[in-house]
Amino acid sequence: MTMREEIEAAAARYPDRRSAIMPALMIAQKEHGHLPGPVLEDVAEILGVERVWVYELVTFYTLFHTEPIGRFHLQLCDNVSCMLCGSEALLKHLETTLRIKKGETTADGVFTLSTVECLGACEMAPVMQVGDDYHGNLDNARLDALLESFRAAERVASVERAHPPSPGE
């Protein structure tokens, strides 16, 4: 499905197309990685809604990004349960290992480090979300292993980006 078709399918679930702005932004973000102005205009145009409505939502909700972010977005929970289980130390560890502060992206664009509010997985605190996945019961060693696996995945992906498979393959 094209982005437009996916958005149309989402819109069909609601009696009012304005309701589909959030799902449409999710779809557009998956497509574009982040949501710059022209993409917001596209979304508004496809749904036939006011542009400023789209702009309001993209800035209100934290899962939407108007600026580019790293390919792996490390979202470490620092709310109470995770804090009680040591998330502060984990944050320091990540900051030293990646040599960035929270809120920043590594120079190679691979990692963005953020702290987030409670992820709703306190039974496995401390927790970090990366992409779609939760990683729980973290300590420094597990974090290191995780980072290594992301780097490995990134190496594979960058090779693929450099040599895209030809259509015949």
Partner: protein, 421 residues
């Protein structure tokens, strides 16, 4: 040992598949409801069961349903609150990931009761696995005739849609959730009109929590007396408790309502970490005022906790031991509310900003005499004056911390440092 009801499939492999659910008697409640009860009778049944909302406020579910106007006209909507943003809470996620059909059956029976043909399940955006599992389950249920038109040979027609949240705690507040569903910034709405009369798209709407809806099929199958027989009569039923923090066995526990907090934390969840003593417990997510160790005998139900000056809330039980600074906990909690304030009303938006600034100062050892009075003044200005309950939760929590652990705050100011460092 309490026989799990809501969690009975949770540890079963492939608990999220329709086949597993069917083996355990799945969708029999829907069959029974459609075959043997009128919608009004289901509402009555749920009323008799004394089921109270598991989302936080504990409002009687049957009564909420009965506010929906009977008259045809505008479509009616059922919304499931699966935003689960209250720190310390993870029960709804586990139900949706591991036993999604239980929720779908609950939705179908409830929709039948209130006359809704459409439900939206508002799932917080981070819960990607839960969303996938729910989508799969909806598709399966649809293919097998539990959703769609002419469900189980009746003329009941019903469809469930997922609405994915995008990261805003306030969406858990039911009217903010409706705004969000309508594609607006999630800010609470004025009440009245109440959602049951004019909610989503100005149509009659019922909003219930995941766990609340999951109870409904069991009430249909086993009767209201069975449900009322579990725990206190005015606040009964099986209940999911989310235990986390500085405790040996964090996890999700299903136990009767009214079980003592001490029993939950010390026996089921294994008590404090080795060499530690419990200092305090937050019983119902960070909106619920903290309870000092000395008061842990309190029963975990809506009325007992309210009498003890706290609340059951989302039953997110956060255990804090003696190694932890309460000023830091209080600061982190107010930072959370400040970050999540929608910005609509003055006391919440401005008051919490001010409060955070004062707390951070105190925590950093830069507090001054008079700061505790300033905090109390701010709590007074916020509590009861905000538009929705978010601000109340923040002020109540801070008040409790100031009340039970005042000496820790004083120590920070007098020693000009954190005594725990």
């Amino acid at each position: 040992m309490f026989e799990p009801v809501l969690l009975r499939n949770v540890d079963v492999p492939d608990g999220h598949l329709l086949s597993t659910y069917q083996v355990g008697g799945g969708y029999q409640a829907l069959t029974k409801a459609l075959g043997e009860y009128t919608p009004d009778e289901i509402v009555e049944l749920v009323k008799e069961s004394n089921l109270r909302g598991r989302g936080g406020a504990g409002f009687p579910t049957g009564m909420k349903w009965s506010f929906v106007p009977k008259a045809a006209g505008k479509p009616k909507y059922l919304c499931c609150n699966a935003d689960e943003g209250e720190p310390g809470t993870f029960k709804d996620r586990i139900i949706m990931e591991r036993d999604p059909h239980q929720l779908i059956e609950g939705l179908a029976v409830s929709a039948y009761a209130i006359g809704a043909e459409t439900a939206y399940v508002y799932i917080r955006g981070e819960y990607v696995t839960a969303i996938r599992r729910m989508e799969q389950a909806i598709a399966q249920a649809h293919e097998n005739g539990y959703l769609g038109t002419g469900i189980l040979g009746s003329n009941f027609k019903f469809m469930v849609h997922i609405h994915r949240g995008a990261g805003a705690y306030i969406c858990g507040e039911e009217t903010a959730m409706l705004e969000s569903l309508e594609g607006k910034r999630a800010q609470p709405r004025l009440k009245p009109p109440f959602p049951a009369v004019a909610g989503l798209y100005a149509s009659p709407t019922v909003i219930n929590n995941v766990e609340t809806l999951a109870c409904v099929p069991h009430i249909v199958m086993r009767g209201s007396a069975w449900f009322r027989g579990i725990g206190p009569d005015r606040s009964p039923g099986p209940k999911l408790y989310c235990v986390s923090g500085q405790v040996r066995k964090p996890g999700l526990y299903e136990l009767p309502m009214g079980i003592s907090l001490r029993e939950l934390v010390e026996e089921y969840a294994g008590g404090p970490l080795p060499g530690r003593k419990i200092k305090a417990v937050i019983p119902g997510g960070v909106s619920a005022p903290v309870i000092p160790e000395s008061d842990l005998e309190v029963g975990m139900d809506f009325d007992s906790l309210a009498a003890a000056g706290s609340m059951l809330g989302s039953a997110g039980v956060v255990v804090i031991d003696d190694s932890t600074c309460m000023v830091k906990i209080a600061t982190r909690i107010i930072e959370f509310f400040h970050h999540e304030s929608c910005g609509k009303c003055t006391p919440c938006r401005e008051g919490l900003n001010w409060t955070v600034k004062v707390l951070r100062r105190i925590e950093a050892g830069e507090g001054e005499t008079g700061d505790l009075e300033q905090l109390e003044m701010l709590c007074k200005g916020i509590f009861g004056n905000t538009f929705c309950a978010l601000g109340d939760g923040a002020a109540m929590g801070l008040r409790a911390a100031l009340k039970h652990f005042r000496e820790e705050f004083v120590a920070h100011i007098e020693e000009r440092r954190c005594p725990f460092h």
